[in-house]
């Protein structure tokens, strides 16, 4: 019995370590692909691709290599074709971690790709939204700064650009860190 437990444990560990990434032509394709793959139940994650293989897009999709065929078929069925499929993440193909968390004492900042969200820890109030350079960042900041994290609108409902999308990832991460029961 123990043998079987260990067998499955090892398989799981090996599979989770063996991941590949898909590079797309533009961000809207990454977002579409992520939605399609998640709806199909694939274990995918949006990541920053390694700098030397960027193709003009700051985001890529990481997936379990054992699911490669299913992932590619699901995308093909919706006419989405990745620019590149990198089956191995060994060595220098390791993707850049999308999130960076910095604790400033009374404040906590989460950066996702090119966007940062900062909250005051004692009140969970959003005190700063920055980064990006997209035209909707000032609007996103105006709508979110001063609001409590559990009472603020989701950036995906307000934004229209890659920055809005990256901010949503940062917002989800900071909520996960701060609102865990």
């Amino acid at each position: 019995m123990k043998f079987f437990k260990n067998l499955f444990k090892n398989e799981k560990k090996e599979a989770s370590a063996d991941r590949g990434i898909l590079i797309f032509e533009n961000t809207s394709e990454v977002i579409k692909a992520e939605n399609i793959l998640k709806k199909h139940g694939f274990n995918v994650k949006v990541v920053g691709p390694p700098a030397h293989i960027r193709k003009g897009c700051d985001l890529a999709i990481e997936f379990l290599i054992v699911e490669a065929m299913g992932v590619l078929n699901a995308l093909e069925s919706r006419d989405i074709e990745p620019l590149e499929f990198l089956p191995s993440l060994g060595g220098n193909l390791k993707p850049v971690d999308l999130f960076h968390v910095k604790d400033y004492g009374n404040f906590l900042m989460v950066r996702a790709a090119n966007m940062k969200i900062t909250i005051q820890k004692s009140t969970l109030t959003i005190v700063n939204i920055s980064g990006g350079g997209c035209p909707d960042v000032p609007y996103l900041a105006a709508e979110l700064v001063g609001k409590r994290l559990d009472n603020a609108p989701e950036p995906r409902q307000l934004g229209h650009t890659l920055c809005g999308y990256a901010l949503q990832l940062a917002y989800d991460k900071i909520k996960q860190l701060c609102l865990q029961s």
Partner: protein, 72 residues
Amino acid sequence: MSETIDARGLSCPEPVLLTLEAIKKSGSAEIEILVDTDTSKENVMRAAQSMGWQILEVNEESSGYKIKIGKE
């Protein structure tokens, strides 16, 4: 006598955090914040307003901007 925060050379969110700490701790009715980018200027002004402070003056200087804020 107003307090001055020099946030030049710092990237967001640090100018905002220094401003918020100053608002919290300062006994002054006015605070001057020095920043060197448009983004920091906008972020500091937005943070101050969200704390109920008013923007009294924004002056462009050779090294950036001087923002004066005051309690409403």
